[in-house]
Amino acid sequence: MTIPQRLKSLWPAWRSREEREMREELESLAEIAGRKELGNLTLAMENARAAWGWTWLESLFADVRYAVRALCHQPAFVAVAALSLALAIGANSAMFSFADAVLLRPLPVPDPSALVDVGNSAPDEPLEGMSFPDYRDIRAASRSFSGLAAYRITQLAAAADPAAPARIRFAALVSDNYFRVLGVEPAAGRAFLPEESRSPGRAVAIVSHDYWRQYGGGRPAVGANLRLNGILFTIVGVAPEKFTGLDRFVLPSVYVPLAMSQRLDSAAADPLEDRGLHNLVVKGRLGAGATLDSARADLAAIGAALERAYPKTNHNRRPSVRTELARRILQSPQLLALSKMLMGLVGLILIIACSNLANLLLVRAHARRREIAIRLSIGAGRRRLLRQLMTESFLLAALGGTAGLFFAYCGILLLGTLSVPSDPPFVLGVQLDWRVVEFSFLAALVSCLFFGLAPAWQAVRLDVVSALKAGGRGVSGHHRTHARDVLVLGQIALALVVLIAAGMFLAGFRKMLAMPSDFRTDHLIGMDTAPAMLHYKPEQARAFYRQLVDRARAMAGVADVAMTESIPLSPSQTTLSVVPEGYRFPKGREKTLVFGAAVDAGYFRVMHVAIERGRAFTDDDRAESRRVAIVNHQFAATFWPGQDPIGKRIRLDSADGPAAEVVGVARTGHYLLVNERPQDYVYLPYSQNPRMRMTLVVESSGDPASLAAPLRDLVRSIDANLPVYNLRPVATLYQSRATDTWLQFFQMVGAMGFIGLTLAMTGLYGLVAYTVSRRVNEFGIRVALGAGRRDVVWLVERRGLILAAIGIAGGGVLTAVAVPALSAAFFGLGATPPVVYVIVPAGLLMVSAAASYLPARRAAGLDPLRALREE
């Protein structure tokens, strides 16, 4: 049959016409030959319909219809099953959306898998950027790519209305071919032209869709003006709404040609000619026939040639080609560990839910023994019946998956509150999108196989004769529930693991609340300013900050003032390249990149950062005096273990950079994340290491928030054009970065624990209740023979408790494996207080006792006469 014919035969009107035709034909023949002569005409017609070739679809329809009918008869069963699945799938989908946002989601460009990351791999830094000259040479020499684009993310003071005060925004400085290589067409206007990217560049910009909607004031973007770092730009295009840049968390508001770098930063030399400045991200679109491996070989040759030609800047540097996912994992291994941990925990919940469903289906199959035996005995094939039962499971899974999306949405709303208060904002990007929907249905499909197949298989394998003989009740006795016991044991064991995890997070959260923070957070307000964006000369910036500190100190309500390059736990931390003298680096490496900041003499005093040994910076550490540094305890332990760090020297930038003498050791704190491992940290005095953007930390005598407006006015009075940002009490930052982060993770894992507990207890309750219902006449006899109420309760209760105890013991073994993995994934968990290992199992045992008590009470309340009559 040809395809159009086959499709035609799906058409209901065609089918009914064809059926009528057949019926008429058969009736006319019956008149000629006599009905008896022709045999079973209905069957003949049935078989004739097979010629249309859609029997499978018809029988699928029949299966679905039958399954819907069968399920409608048991709404309670369907509700419990679908709700169990929905909770588990919802939790999984929510966590998937988190993992998707932080790691998995492909780049928002056409054919993202062909776009690879091209970087530098140096022994000191596996993820180093490219210098522009290297990029230019590689772009000219490589044969593997249909295009190579370069960009870097920076912060700019942007004013959509050139007359209004500027705000700090993320911007991408991009190569001329950026949009072309990505395959992104501007939604309005055009992409950049090659001549706009030739040094010294032209002041043209492409704005992001969101930025212009928010700040454009309804004007058409193309042709409008925009002030960036005080330079007037003309907008030539608008990026499409879906394109939000190539980085997670950081969404650029504007794109400008890379050639504008020098003017935007008012740098003395053109940064695009500095082969030693490795700060560009390069993305390549693989050409036809090229693979990751061929591109790697191609670039290795080019990289070797560059290293020979420019030994000074390219020593030990190899171009690396990676997939986007590999780059993200390398960039943030802690997010991979966190995603794995969360996905692992919700995976356990899905297993619990599936066992629950398998259990329910086993009971159901048992109750349907008679029906199945009859259908088998009148000639239904076992495969056909298996398919029928799997159709029911599949419907349940689809129901659970759909309802799961609702729970996923709730979870995503909760995850959406994980925010980082920052100017410009960092965006986590957890959202309910098609990928999450697809994931939910995939999870439903997989769980359907997991929970449906074994019970269905067991159901159709039954012995027809004995099943029919035993009647609807089947063979009683508890040797039949072994499989179900194991399922319930597994559920309790896994629930214990998830609950212990929740307990660990709760303990961590409590510890965090009780523990004094590494630095003072009360009565402090921070404020960022960036004279660099207004093209201040270094000496002008120094004068500006001197004036700012002096005048702030004189303000009413101000107790003290300090300055730092970055406040601890703020989301963007500054780093330093240092060479600790006397430390032997592994082969190939010659320096290390650590967190660090330039701070003034007041910093340790105002922030209450404890100096364990030596001294803090003083006003006597001047530009012209001996260079000094302070390291944290962790730094000393890493690089000078067992030695006195005071008096040691650190080379800055490289082995032949200036040397600073360590004069103090500060206590180790948290610098970027509240759950980070102890980090090495170096403090340098601002006086010897002036910076172009600093954070002012002001100690207030009253409410720090009340100082916000006066501080903003103070900056305005010095320079009205200078952008002020991240102006907020330090306690607000600490609250969101430390306390709230912990609270949210505890809530997440706690919710998982609760779901796991509920599901496992539903399973236990179901099993115990089922056993009671199978043993009704046994209990009847016992009561008739004089057993007391308490005896019967204990008989049932004992069974529940034994199951729970074995499950908890099994869970204990699993926990021994899981806890180290959890602690590794979420470092801040630390050592879990032993009380968690007591309270959680005890609590689980108590809840198990309660879950078995309900059926036990029913068993005890049985009327012996009625119970015996039922036989």
Binding site: S28, A33, E37, L38, A44, N47, A50, A51, W52
Partner: protein, 110 residues
């Protein structure tokens, strides 16, 4: 006598070469020409007709029968004729091959 798998289609096509017939007529014709040996059940014949029709080898139309009754008559199409030739030669090959293997009917020893 049972039919070999797949021969029913061929028999139907061959029967219709003589001219259009209705469903019951085809069954009767096969029975008569086979000397009452091949008694095709209508229940198997009818789906075969529908299958052949779907393949385009036969076509049907309402006509009036010899007893002045309306019935659906099937006739061979050009494609069906071609198919019959193909099956016929395949059948001949098959019969002669099996015949060579089997040889003459052996005498039954008591």
């Amino acid at each position: 006598m049972d039919l070999l798998q797949g021969t029913l289609d061929m028999l139907v096509l061959r029967t219709l070469r003589a001219g259009p017939l209705h469903g019951y007529g085809i069954a009767g014709n096969i029975r008569a020409t086979s000397g009452e040996t091949l008694d095709i059940e209508f229940g198997s014949l009818y789906p075969a007709l529908k299958r052949l029709e779907a393949k385009g080898w036969i076509a049907s139309a309402w006509q009036t029968s010899e007893h002045n009754r309306r019935a659906k008559f099937y006739r061979l199409t050009a494609a069906g004729r071609k198919q019959l030739r193909r099956e016929h030669s395949r059948w001949a090959d098959f019969v002669s091959a099996v015949g060579r293997v089997m040889g003459p009917v052996p005498e039954v020893k008591a």
